[in-house]
Structures are given as C-alpha cells and as structure tokens.
C-alpha cells in the first residue's frame, strides 16, 4: 500500500513538470513585451531594456525555464500580476476556497439528482420513464450553462427577489452558482448510476438474494445500490478536482470571486502572468486533489488499486464549461 502511494506521488513530478512546461511555452509565445507591460507605455526604450535584463528575458529559453521552475519550487513564485503587482499565488489562494465551496455544493447537487434519476431509470429500464429521465438529464447537458444561469437569475433574483443576482456577500449567493454547475453534470451521473445499477442487478448475488425471497426493495437498496455506488463515488471524486477550474463561465455570470473568474478577468485585462500562473496553480491543485481522491479510494477498498492505476481512462470526460 505504502509502495503504491509513494509511486503515485512520484508520478506527480513528471506531470507537474510537464504542465509547467506547457504554461511556460504559452508564456513565451504571448504577444507583447512583458517588460513594457510592467512599465507602461510612457517608459523609455532604455528603461524597458533594463527591465528585460532584470527579468532575465534576454537569456536563452531553457535558462528561463529552469529559473521559472526554480522560482516556483523554492519561492512559490508563480509570477506577479501586471495589474496589482501582487504575487499570483497570494491572489489566487483565497479564491480557491470560494471555488472549492461552490464545487462541493455543485457536485453534491449534481450527484444527488443524478443518482436518483439513474436509479429510477435503471429500475424502470426501457419504459417511458427511462426515456423521460434521459431527456431531462440530457436537457441540462444541452443548454449552455450561462443561459441556465441567466434564466435562473431572471426568475429568482429579478422577479422573485429571493436570491442575489451577483456576488456572494451572503450564503444565499452560493445557491444559484452551485445549482447551475450541478445541473449540467446531472446527465453524466445519471448515466453512470443507471449502467452500474443495471450491471449489478444482473449479478449472481442479487439473483441469490432474490431466490432467498428477499423483498425487491431490500434488494435494491441494500444489495444493489451499495455495490452500484462504487463507480459513481469514483466519478464524484474525480469531478471534485476537475470542476474547480471548470466554473469559469458561471463564476463570471454570477460575479463570484473564485479562481475561474480570476482567470477570465485576467484574460480581459490581458494580464498574462495572472492567466498562466493561475492556470498552473489550478492544475497543481487539481492534480493533488485527484491524487488524494485516488489514494483514499484505495485505502477504503484495496481492490480498486488495479482499476485506478491501469486506467486514467476511468476519469469522466472533461466537461465543456
């Protein structure tokens, strides 16, 4: 077990180096001169050259990359925002909390609705109920999240005055963003629950239980559900990580000060160090969360070791938006 965990942690190193390389490449192809960006247009050419020298922009690319990695590892330096001059790391850390809360809420909403719909459609397989569930869950997968968001704002904020339209000054502000992100993931949970339920219901021990004369309810809820939930739980675990950076659009619509909005704002402000530094931090956090999720699953059920290690493919398809 310990060996497995150590192996997983060691695997992180090449991944993180690779991610930082991608970000670094994007950084080097970014338009505009970083030195001039920092100094502004009123700076003279000499000042810009001086700043370039100071930033090490005249060094060979490989030297710059090594320094980039060194700064990250030794100083936690992911670059400074052009806009505020503050380190990107210290700007993004408080936002991770906000995004984290929304993600947990959204995954909970999506999973609960998805699991319920999935169970219903598995129990009523190939009936109109099954089709209806498919259509409902697919509806939320087919409407752009921000349209759902704007419609919900219209209903709950503009017309009913129940919830705030933007910002999260109170706990109420979290409700709509969570709901929007949650609804869009319902379809995938429904699908996983349904197929896993169908599979389990066909297994021998269920037949045995049935033969032993147990009630259908007892079979469904005690035997089938518990076993069918394993893949669902795994997918919940992985989407916890993946959704944190995926809320860019919803965070922007609702004016939520999370990491997604930070990236979007930085894009509109052409604040490239913040965009790329932010993306790198988010990638690192995601990778760590996925690692923790995987390890905790293995600790709970060592049989899962093979499936997780053999197939990163178990990760659900990354969602658009």
């Amino acid at each position: 077990m310990l060996k497995y965990i150590i192996k997983r942690i060691l695997l992180l190193i090449p991944i993180l180096l690779g991610v930082s390389a991608i970000i670094f490449i994007l950084k080097t192809v970014t338009p505009g001169d970083p030195a001039r960006q920092i100094l502004g247009n009123s700076a003279t050419e000499e000042q810009v050259q001086e700043k370039r020298e100071e930033l090490g922009l005249n060094d060979p690319v490989i030297v710059q990359y090594v320094r980039y990695i060194k700064n990250i590892v030794t100083k936690g330096d992911f670059g400074d925002s052009y806009r505020t001059g503050e380190p990107v790391l210290s700007e993004i850390l408080p936002r991770l909390r906000t995004s984290g809360i929304i993600t947990i809420g959204a995954v909970a909403i999506g999973a609960i609705i998805g699991i319920i719909l999935g169970i219903i459609s598995a129990l009523k397989k190939y009936t109109w109920v099954d089709s209806l569930v498919l259509v409902i869950s697919m509806f939320f997968q087919s409407v752009p999240e921000f349209v759902v968001a704007l419609v919900l704002i219209m209903i709950f904020a503009v017309n009913l005055h129940l919830l705030p339209a933007t910002g999260i000054t109170s706990a109420k502000g979290f409700i709509l963003p969570m709901l929007c992100i949650g609804l869009s993931s319902v379809a995938s949970y429904t699908r996983i629950t349904r197929s896993s339920m169908l599979e389990v219901l066909g297994e021998d021990y269920i037949r045995t239980a049935r033969a032993k004369g147990q009630t259908e309810n007892n079979i469904t809820y005690h035997h089938a559900l518990r076993n069918a939930m394993i893949p669902v739980a795994q997918s919940i675990g992985t989407s916890l990580g993946n959704s944190i950076g995926g809320g860019m659009v919803i965070e922007t619509v609702f004016g939520v000060p999370g990491v997604g909005k930070y990236i979007v704002d930085s894009i509109t402000q052409r604040n490239y160090p913040s965009v790329l530094g932010g993306a790198l931090i988010i990638a690192i956090v995601l990778t760590l969360i996925n690692l923790i999720v995987d390890i905790s699953f293995v600790l709970i059920d060592p049989r899962l070791k093979t499936t997780i290690i053999a197939s990163g493919a178990k990760k659900p398809k990354a969602k658009a938006a």
Binding site: E86, A157, A165, T166
Partner: protein, 527 residues
C-alpha cells in the same frame, strides 16, 4: 399618528417624483442628471454602484492613470482647491476660499483653515505643494501635467497660502483644477499608506466626504462617510458606498432590478433605452460636452490610415445616421462639428449632405490608394460604445474594409491607446471650455490616443494655441472654426455624434450629479 401622516405624505411625494421621472424617461428624453435639489439627510444606509471595469489604481495621479472608474472613486476621497457648479456654470471655492493671478503664470490660492485630512492633521499649504509636485512629476506625459511646465514651482507662502505656477493664464485653466485627478493629499498620508506606489491600492488620503475602507481585488471597493467632513453644507445620505465591478452590462442591470445594486453605470445607451418603460428601474441618459470622434492612426506606427485617401474613404463609407441611431439610441443627431451644439464654440463645419453614405466613392478612393482588393484595419474601443463599432464594421465591410475589434477593459484601453498598435479608435474629447489641454490628441508630449498625438504640424499647433489663448470668446469661436476646417480638409478625424452616458438606477434614488466629462458623482445620491 401625525408622524405616520407625514411619512405617508413623504412616501406619496417620493412616488410622484419617481413616477414623473419615469414618465420623462419613457419619452426617451435626455434627462436625469444634475436636476435634483441637494440632499440634507444622513442615514445609516449603504449604496452599491456597479461599474463595468475595475480600475488599476484608486489614486491615478501617482502613476499617471486617468481611468474613468478610478477618477469617480477618487472624487469622493479627495477634495480639490476649487469646484465646478454644474447648475450655474461657475467655479466655486472648495479647499481654497479665494484665488488671484499674481502674474501671467502664477496664481495664489488662500486655503480654508478648518479642513482636516484623513489622518486628522489640518490641511496646510505644504500639502498643496506636495500634491502639485505629483501632478507635475508623475504626469508629464498626460493631461494632468499639461498645465505645468517641467520646472513649474509650487510655493507655500504661509500656512494657508500657496502659489502655483502654470504654463499660462489661459481663460479656463482654473476650471481644470476642478477635475478629480487634482485632489489634494498630504505627504504624511501618502507615506503612511506606504508611499506613492502603494497609495493607489490603499488611498487613505485626502479630505473628501468619504474615507477609503477596503479594496478587495476582483470584488469591490468600499468607502465610508467621513463624519468629520469640513463642509457643513454637504450631508452624505449614505453611510457607505460599495463599488462593484461587473463587465457584462446586462448583469449590471439585472443587479439593479434584483435590488443587489442601486446604480448600473456606463450601460450602452441602446441597452439602457429598452428599460425606459420599465417601472422597476429608472434610466438616466445625459449628454455632456463631448462629441465622439473617430481618430485615425497617423503616427509613426500608422498603417494604411497614414494615407489620406484611405481616411477619406472611411469617412465616406460610414453611415453617420446609423451610427448615431445605434450609439445614442436615437437621442441625438449626427455631429456636424467638433463641439456639442450649445457649446460656446460650436461651429457647423459639415453639412448633412457631406455626411451622406457614398460607398462607390469610398471604393474608388481605396482603389486609388492601392487597396482595391480590400484592407484589414484594427480598432480599439471601450465596451460601452461597442455597438458603434459594430455598425462601423458593417459600414466598412461594404467598402471592402475588414474591421477587427478589440474591446478591453478601461484600464487596458488607456494603456493600449498609447501604443499605436491600432488603426482606428473612437474617443471623445471633453470640450466644455477652452482648457489648455484641449485638442490634447494633437499634442506630441502626451501619449493618450492613437492618431492625433503623433501627428501634427507647426501650423496646427499654432492654430490650437491661438484658439485656446484668445481672450475674446467670439473671436475664439472663429479661430476654432478655422481649425476645424483644417482637420476636415486633411481628414484628421471624423465627428460621429454627441456622447451620451447612460445608467440604469434604482427608481427611488435621487441626486444623479455629474463631475467633469460626464462622470457620475458617487457622493450625491440620496433617496
């Protein structure tokens, strides 16, 4: 009992007023700014003002930034030597009780002796001297510094008298000092905030009606009423002002509709106008002394627009009626001169016929210039007049010009506009009076705005100078006309339509006042 009656009466009158205002707005008129009597009440309430973009600094003069949002927020934190009364058009005392010209370039100000700054220390002449040095030294390449020479002096004559040296005693130079970037701060405050670099992030400076509380990046700026404010005539109705930043104007309006915000500022006029008949909100549209102009890049980095034929072709291809209809939501007519009709210096240099669309003429000119096969140009713009660019894009497409649009946030716009990477830009110039910085887009020393600034001639400079410094207003008007003719002949810029500012606000809100350039005054609101 009696109390209730009074309250009921007050409520009824509030409702009538707001209904009247709504009715006015329904007619689609230009209304709403500077028409309410002043507030006299203090409450514990808070107001939320939703801006479209977050400023990069809250004390622009320190870094030479003049973003709109930054100026509006700064205007409640600091006071100026003098103030402008929008109702009377007079310059009034603020921190200075009196001022007189000592000679052609020196003006002496007498300061109030009852003003305290944020740190509790009294306002003294040295504070003005310190502030003037910031205006001069940190702003050499922008308009703030344009009224001072590099060596301009600021001398404290005694504790409450200060003499400032200007470039000239141009007629309207003192009026410029009413602009929000000329707020007075003290050196101690700036040092306490961490120096000039830091003061933009934590502007606990000045003697204004509100004090800075916090700035949470990406979220809001909060200011609080200054309970020790020196001016007894001013009563801040709101204890707290929260400025929020939401890029999407639709989201800003929805925030007002839902009660989250009280003011959605800088909404495209066409968008605001669709709410005219909506009782849940009030629409404020107003013009101010500014025409939106289209400027061509004619500077060192200029591309095709360096060629006058291309500029003329653009001029001919544009549909000014459509641009105006979309840009002002039908509230204005196309501009026929550089100034706004009603301005003292207004001249009609174009006829309506000259503004007619002439696609064939445009194409012929482009062919002559060697662009028969088409041409791609890049335009830089601010999102609240994005619709205008979209119309221009369609107009120019007919003549074979592909227009690429770039609409960054305000801070980035200001940065980029100085860079010369773009071919076209729509910027209005605030031309209420003959400020010494008027026609700043032609003045080489200043970086703002592509097009004009990097391209000028001695003749043009002379014409501008004569116009600004002429003592007689009638003669000035004639001189102004001559200059406008020059611009027209060489197609240096083209006039689009009088700028309209629009906001969607809580219908209960009164006291929408404006500062210079049509900026909203956040401190004047009350219910």
């Amino acid at each position: 009992m009696k109390m209730k009656k009074v309250l009921g009466l007050a409520l009824a009158s509030v409702m009538t007023i707001s209904m009247a205002a709504a009715a006015f707005a329904e007619e689609g008129g230009l209304a709403g700014a500077n028409c309410d009597p002043a507030n006299t009440e203090k409450t514990e309430e808070s107001i939320t003002i939703a801006f479209g973009s977050e400023p990069s600094t809250l004390y622009g003069p320190a870094t030479g930034n003049t973003e709109n949002e930054s100026q509006m927020i700064a205007s409640v934190l600091t006071d100026n030597l003098v103030a402008y009364n929008a109702q009377t058009g007079e310059i009034e005392p603020q921190l200075a009780t009196a001022w007189e010209w000592v000679d052609d370039t020196h003006c002496r100000f007498t300061l109030r002796d009852d003003v305290t700054m944020t740190d509790g220390s009294p306002l003294v002449a040295d504070d003005v001297v310190y502030s003037a040095k910031i205006w001069r030294d940190q702003n050499a390449t922008n308009e703030t510094g344009s009224i001072f020479t590099d060596t301009a002096d600021a001398v404290a004559d005694d504790e409450h008298t200060v003499t400032l040296e200007f470039t000239s005693n141009a007629p309207d130079i003192i009026r410029m000092l009413t602009w929000s970037q000329y707020g007075i701060v003290s050196e101690e405050e700036v040092e306490a905030a961490g120096g000039l670099e830091e003061v933009g992030k934590k502007p606990l400076v000045g003697s204004g009606p509100y004090k800075f509380v916090s700035w949470t990046n990406g979220q809001n700026v909060i200011v609080e009423r200054n309970e020790e404010y020196w001016n007894p005539d001013y009563a801040g109705y709101f204890k707290q002002i929260v400025f929020t930043f939401t890029a999407d104007p639709a989201a800003r309006i929805m925030a007002v509709q839902s009660g989250d915000a009280d003011v959605a500022y800088a909404v495209p006029t066409a968008q605001a106008s669709t709410f005219a008949a909506n009782d849940a909100v009030k629409v404020v549209n107003y013009t101010f002394d500014q025409v939106n102009h289209l400027w061509f890049n004619m500077g060192e980095n200029a591309g095709a627009t360096a060629d006058q034929k291309v500029r003329e072709a653009i001029d001919k291809a544009l549909d000014y009626d459509a641009i105006t209809a979309v840009g002002s939501a039908g509230l204005c007519t196309p501009a026929l001169g550089y100034f706004v009709p009603g301005n003292t210096y207004y001249n009609e240099v174009y006829t309506a016929e000259e503004r007619a669309v002439d696609i064939d003429g445009a194409k012929a000119l482009l062919a002559e210039a060697g662009y028969a096969d088409g041409l791609t140009l890049r335009a830089l713009g601010l999102s609240d007049i994005e619709p205008v660019y979209v119309v221009m894009q369609a107009n120019l497409a007919q003549a074979g010009i592909t227009l690429e649009l770039d609409m960054p946030d305000t801070a980035q716009f200001v940065q980029q506009s100085a860079g010369g990477d773009y071919d076209l830009i729509v910027v209005g110039e605030y031309a209420a009076a003959r400020f010494p910085s008027l026609f700043i887009f032609f003045q080489n020393a200043y970086t703002f705005c592509i097009g004009g600034p990097k391209w000028t001639t001695d003749e043009i400079n002379a014409q501008i100078h004569d116009f600004i410094f002429e003592e007689d207003a009638e003669t000035a008007k004639e001189l102004g006309k001559a200059f406008e003719e020059t611009m027209k002949e060489s197609t240096i810029q083209t006039n689009l339509f009088p700028a309209v500012n629009s906001a969607v606000i809580n219908p209960e809100l009164k006291g929408f006042n404006t500062l210079e350039r049509g900026f909203m005054d956040p401190s004047g609101f009350y219910k």
